[in-house]
């Protein structure tokens, strides 16, 4: 009874395919990281080649699949076959074989040709996109180039260095002086001018990562010890989403980034802003306390803030303009109001549209991010959850520079020792008290337990590097960095 049903099992694929096709609305095609909605020449080329393969495959699928369904139904065993003469034992037909092999090769040639041309097209900025010599006659060190960057970008190919780290991206614009060496790097959200070809250099400082902005270009890996390159171009203004596509450790899923495609004039303004220092904090405000904490809690050992002379680190993301970015923590935390953003996307049917930063969301994100890894306690009194497991933001205990961090690392050690000693003492007291009356035993046990509880509380306090008030001040300070 099942055989009839399952003789059609192959047919399942057909309605399934129809279902998938029916489900392909426009909204499904242009989701945030869709490869089916290219917005730049590289992604467009990749999409076109992909569609060539799709059409070829659909034709083959209908041909071969149709024949298979036909054969299985037509040549199924029927009652009475047992008495029929045995089928002639044949071993194939050379003409059919050669014909099919030739046809297969022919079908592959159809996709081989666009594939080859696209491989070379995608490799680097095509000549027609470079109006004049690629030699950087206008390199920033040259006279007048610095002031003229807008014109320079207009005329030449912009270069961006992308550096991957566990788990965030750093962007540098060497021609424009926005580099880590100049303490002007751009973390996690970068900006490119619309309609301009951009040459991208890819490097990694630890493990292999992969740089992928589905709507703008397919991925290229960032391999430590190698310099890879690619080129991109954004043809429509918008806010685009990218993600690391090579497994790179614990928090690989959190390694996101964004790219903003803006009008060239807007781009020039953005570059100006990147070069500006942060504004001074208002005296007596929470932000001023936060600024002091930024130094006292050793944030400044890794982070750079132009305008805050104490903060000159090079390892971690540059925070000079942290409050102007739409995302935080490797673009994992979104600083926009999620409901407003969703509404805008649905209203415009365009996921590249973006609402502005929401100050409350940003502040909540800052507190969540800085307070993660259990260095602060949340509203429920428990250590805050890790936003990004394995991240290095709280590795500052490794820095034992005397005088810089007099507060926590030694204190934690001391508190840990105190707890161990309290536990040992309590246990020893119980052993020593062997043979005493139950009442006395209970008193001794209670005293020991109290000491352990006190020591545990002290350790918790020592580990809580930031009190809720301090966390708030720190967030307020960072909110001023626009």
């Amino acid at each position: 009874m099942f055989s009839r049903f399952f003789s059609r099992v192959g047919l399942l694929a057909a309605p399934f395919l129809a279902l998938v096709m029916a489900g392909c609305s426009k909204a499904d095609m242009n989701v945030r990281q869709s490869t089916l909605d290219p917005k730049g020449p590289v992604a467009k080329m990749q999409y076109d080649v992909f569609m060539d393969t799709v059409w070829l495959v659909v034709v083959l699928f209908i041909l071969v699949g149709g024949l298979l369904v036909y054969a299985v139904i037509k040549f199924r065993a029927r009652p009475g076959d047992e008495d029929a003469p045995r089928i002639e034992e044949g071993h194939g037909n050379p003409l059919v074989e050669i014909g099919l092999i030739t046809a297969s090769i022919g079908a592959l040639v159809i996709i081989a040709i666009p594939t080859l041309s696209a491989i070379w097209y995608d490799d680097d900025v095509p000549a027609e996109s470079i109006p004049t010599s690629k030699l950087s006659a206008w390199y920033p060190r040259l006279e007048g180039a610095k002031e003229n960057y807008a014109k320079v970008v207009e005329e030449q190919v912009l270069e961006i260095d992308v550096i991957g780290k566990q788990w965030w991206f750093r962007f540098e614009y060497p021609q424009l002086g926005l580099t880590n060496d100049a303490k002007r790097s751009v973390p996690n959200e970068f900006v490119i001018p619309k309609g301009k070809a951009v040459h991208i250099n890819l490097r990694s400082e630890d493990v292999i990562h992969s740089f992928w902005i589905p709507k703008i270009a397919g991925k290229v890996d960032l391999v430590p010890g190698r310099k890879n390159h690619m080129w991109i171009q954004g043809d429509e203004v918008g806010h685009y989403y990218g993600q690391c596509a090579e497994f790179c450790g614990d928090s690989h899923a959190y390694m996101l980034f964004r790219v903003e495609v803006v009008e060239p004039a807007e781009f020039a303004k953005w570059v100006q802003r990147q070069k500006a220092d942060s504004l001074p904090v208002v005296a007596g405000s929470k932000a001023e306390t936060g600024k002091a904490l930024f130094a006292a809690k050793t944030c400044m050992m890794c982070h750079n803030i132009n305008g805050n002379p104490q903060a000159a680190g090079v390892f971690a993301p540059d925070l000079t303009h942290v409050a102007s970015r739409k995302s935080l923590a490797g673009a994992w935390l979104d600083n926009r109001d999620p409901k407003a953003q969703l509404a805008k996307e649905q209203e415009t049917l365009n996921t590249e549209q973006s609402v502005e930063i929401d100050r409350d969301v940003l502040k909540a994100n800052l507190k969540k991010w800085i307070g993660s890894s259990g260095v602060a306690t949340g509203a429920d009194g428990k250590p805050t959850k890790d936003v990004k497991p394995g991240n290095r933001m709280h590795f500052y205990q490794a820095f034992s520079v005397s005088g810089l961090n007099p507060t926590f690392a030694p204190l934690i050690d001391a508190a840990e020792n105190a707890l161990t000693e309290a536990q040992a003492a309590a246990a020893k007291a119980l052993v020593d008290a062997k043979g005493k009356s139950p009442a006395e035993l209970a008193t001794i046990k209670k005293a020991g337990d109290e000491k352990v509880v006190a020591a545990t509380a002290a350790l918790k306090k020592a580990r809580e590097i930031l009190t809720p008030e301090e966390l708030d001040c720190l967030a307020e300070y960072l909110l001023t960095l626009k």
Partner: protein, 675 residues
């Protein structure tokens, strides 16, 4: 050697006199029960053990897969932690490939190849047992990492001094089944060997290394068996297709595994002894790992697929009532796939910045490999064409195999186009692709094989309605789980990410995929439960229930330990079918009978020797953990290995004569054969 006592033929091995070698070592020939299974050198028992372990690990890998899907059922889920998720997908991939599909294929190789070529055992029976136990211990070492992980999570290891000094506490591997350096390797200079991952990676390295030894030993064995042990008249072009695919697979293993062996040794030296093969900060080349890994890894795909193709090429003719269409072309295309399989490894590396010329070359070669694969599908279609298709569980699963494999092949053609691949690489599109090939293809093929040959292996017929329900659930659940992943990949969802935000448009199809995965898991479990029940309690059936075509169906079920009471002489391809329906009968040599068949002696030594790998397998990661004196465990392991091999060598050839029923009763077919 006091070996003479065994030369008198016996009717059962339990009648044998106890035998001792000059060293006083006992060959455990007269044993039953546990000892018999532990010391067996019978290819059929070894095949059954391979199959049982493989099915167990299929379920383990399946549970890992379901945990992965449960985590992804909704955005921002925290069913498991990021690290646990990474460990799950690492172990899922590794388990399914090395502990599921490969040993299940090996189970078929072991059970079927000697029967199909008319031999009484494999060329090296003790080496065969060594392969089995080495696989078992390698698999155990790999999975023991989970035990350490759980002990760590439960806090049982906190008291140890060495535990306090660990920089990374992932005990189960969290480096992916591909283990790209330097994430799996080291950084830093002057032999510091600083790491990105914990001892899980060390478990993975030694586990895969040991499994590789098992695969290599088995492959040499099967090549020797197929080349040398064929019955008279069984020319190469009369070999059943499954045996052909076994031969090609074995050759692929021998050529592919050395690459991963070298890579693993280099990685182990990097991690354990501060070498710098893949350490970028000391001038090493991480990209070298990828080349070495994929020049193994791509042929590995064909190592997984070819046996399933062989199985399907046996089943389709049986149930179409018609010889395989284009036998020489099927065999030749299998060989071409094997050959080209070594020329396409860099298509896994299209995004690593190879440059346009190598990218173009590998793209074209990858397209080329679609031709022999397509040829197989055309020939299977040709086999059905004009036949009388009988629907049975193996046939339904084989047809499912063709469909799913075809879909997987089509998405494979899409990847071959490097520019399109740069969008698909490391996205869910790839996951959909290779699950269509490896699950829809290989697993359905292997399940078809299980249902097909189970009556031969145990003499019992699996329950057909249950088999249909299970197959239906597998096929439906599978398409529901992996069909949507094509879309998810194209919608930009990268693989190996333990969670995703709402708002990316991935929520619906991830939900559907997870539901599909549950149906799939239930289906596989039902199918395996049906088979396990059949093995012990199933309905007894005739020796040739399907109308089989190849030699194994001419034997009684279950197959006697000497296989062929008299050695067959084959006159044609599909010898048994011709014997039943055609003009060319199988002839038999005048051997066996009262004089007996020479049987190999059982031995403890393969088991003892492979136990060495158990010690070494635990010792290396424990050394990396910093457990004091763990290095001595490794040295002990190597000592046990060498001791086992030495005792194996000196325990003598053994062997005894077993009487067969041939001469005592029915007239030997040899005399009636038309010659």
């Amino acid at each position: 050697m006091s070996h003479d006592s065994h030369h008198a033929p016996v009717a059962s091995k339990l009648e044998l006199a106890p035998e001792r070698s000059d060293l006083g070592l006992i060959r455990p020939d007269r044993t039953t029960g546990w000892t018999d299974w532990l010391t067996t050198v019978d290819h059929k028992k070894i095949g059954i053990l391979y199959g049982a372990f493989a099915m167990f690990y299929f379920l383990v890998g399946g549970v890992e897969a379901l945990a992965i899907r449960t985590q992804l059922i909704r955005p921002d889920n925290d069913f498991v932690t990021a690290r646990m998720y990474n460990q799950l997908f690492t172990m899922h991939g590794t388990t399914m490939i090395f502990l599921g599909v490969m040993p299940l294929s090996a189970a078929f190789f072991n059970f079927l190849v000697p029967l199909q070529i008319g031999a009484r055992d494999v060329a090296f029976p003790r080496l065969n047992a060594f392969s089995l136990w080495t696989f078992v211990f390698g698999a155990f070492v790999l999975n023991a990492s989970w035990l350490f992980e759980f002990a760590h999570l439960a806090g049982w290891l906190n008291g140890f001094e060495w535990h306090k000094h660990l920089a990374f506490t992932d005990f189960a591997p969290a480096n992916g089944w591909f283990s790209y350096a330097p994430l799996s390797g080291t950084y830093g200079q002057n032999g510091q060997a600083l790491r990105f991952t914990g001892v899980g990676t060390d478990f993975w390295i030694i586990g895969i290394q040991v499994l590789g030894i098992a695969s290599l030993a088995a492959s040499f064995n099967f090549i020797c068996t197929i080349i040398n042990m064929r019955a008279k008249g069984m020319t190469m072009m009369r070999l059943p297709v499954f045996t052909w695919m076994t031969l090609i697979t074995a050759i692929l293993i021998i050529l592919a595994f050395p690459a991963i062996t070298v890579a693993l040794i280099e990685l182990m030296f990097d991690r354990a002894f501060g070498a710098n093969f893949f350490n970028p900060s000391a001038g090493g080349q991480p990209i070298l790992w990828q080349h070495l890994f994929w020049i193994f890894g791509h042929p590995e795909v064909y190592i997984l697929v070819l046996p399933a193709m062989g199985i399907v090429s046996e089943i389709l003719p049986t149930f179409s009532g018609k010889a395989l269409f284009g036998y020489p072309i099927i065999v030749f295309s299998g060989a071409v796939i094997g050959f080209l399989g070594f020329a396409v490894w860099s298509h896994h590396m299209f995004t690593t910045g190879l440059g346009p010329v190598p990218t173009a070359a590998f793209a074209l070669l990858t397209m080329a490999i679609a031709v022999p694969t397509g040829v197989k599908i055309f020939n299977w279609l040709g086999t059905i064409w004009g036949g009388r298709v009988r629907f049975t569980p193996p046939m339904v699963l084989s047809l499912g195999f063709i469909w799913m494999f075809m879909c997987g092949g089509f998405s494979g053609v899409m990847h071959s186009s490097a520019p399109a691949d740069s969008q698909q690489q490391d996205s869910y599109f790839v996951i959909a692709h290779f699950h269509y090939v490896l699950l829809g293809g290989v697993l359905l093929g292997l399940m078809a094989g299980l249902y097909f040959w189970f009556p031969k292996i145990f003499g019992r017929m699996p329950n057909a309605p249950l088999a249909y329900i299970a197959s239906g659930m597998v096929i439906l659940g599978f398409n529901l789980a992996f069909g949507p992943m094509h879309y998810l990949g194209l919608a930009g969802m990268p693989r190996r990410t333990h969670t995703y935000h709402a708002g990316n448009g991935w929520e619906t199809w991830n939900y559907v995929a997870t539901i599909g995965a549950y149906i799939l898991g239930a289906g596989v479990f039902l199918a395996f439960a049906n088979l396990a029940w059949t093995a012990f309690k199933g309905k007894k059936c005739a020796s040739d229930p399907w109308g089989g075509r190849t030699l194994e169906w001419s034997l009684p079920s279950p197959v006697p330990e000497y296989n062929f009471a008299q050695a067959p002489i084959v006159a044609t391809r599909d010898a048994y079918f011709e014997d039943k329906h055609g003009g060319k009968r199988i002839a038999y040599e005048n051997d066996g009978g009262e004089a007996g068949v020479h049987m190999p002696s059982q031995s403890w030594m393969p088991l003892v020797a492979s136990t060495g790998f158990l010690f070494a397998g635990f010792g290396m990661p424990m050394m990396a953990m910093g457990v004091p004196h763990a290095g001595w465990i490794v040295i002990t392991g190597l000592g046990v290995l060498i001791l086992g091999i030495w005792l194996w060598a000196v325990e003598g050839p053994g062997g005894y004569m077993l009487k067969t029923p041939a001469a005592s009763g029915s007239p030997a077919p040899a005399e009636t054969a038309a010659h």
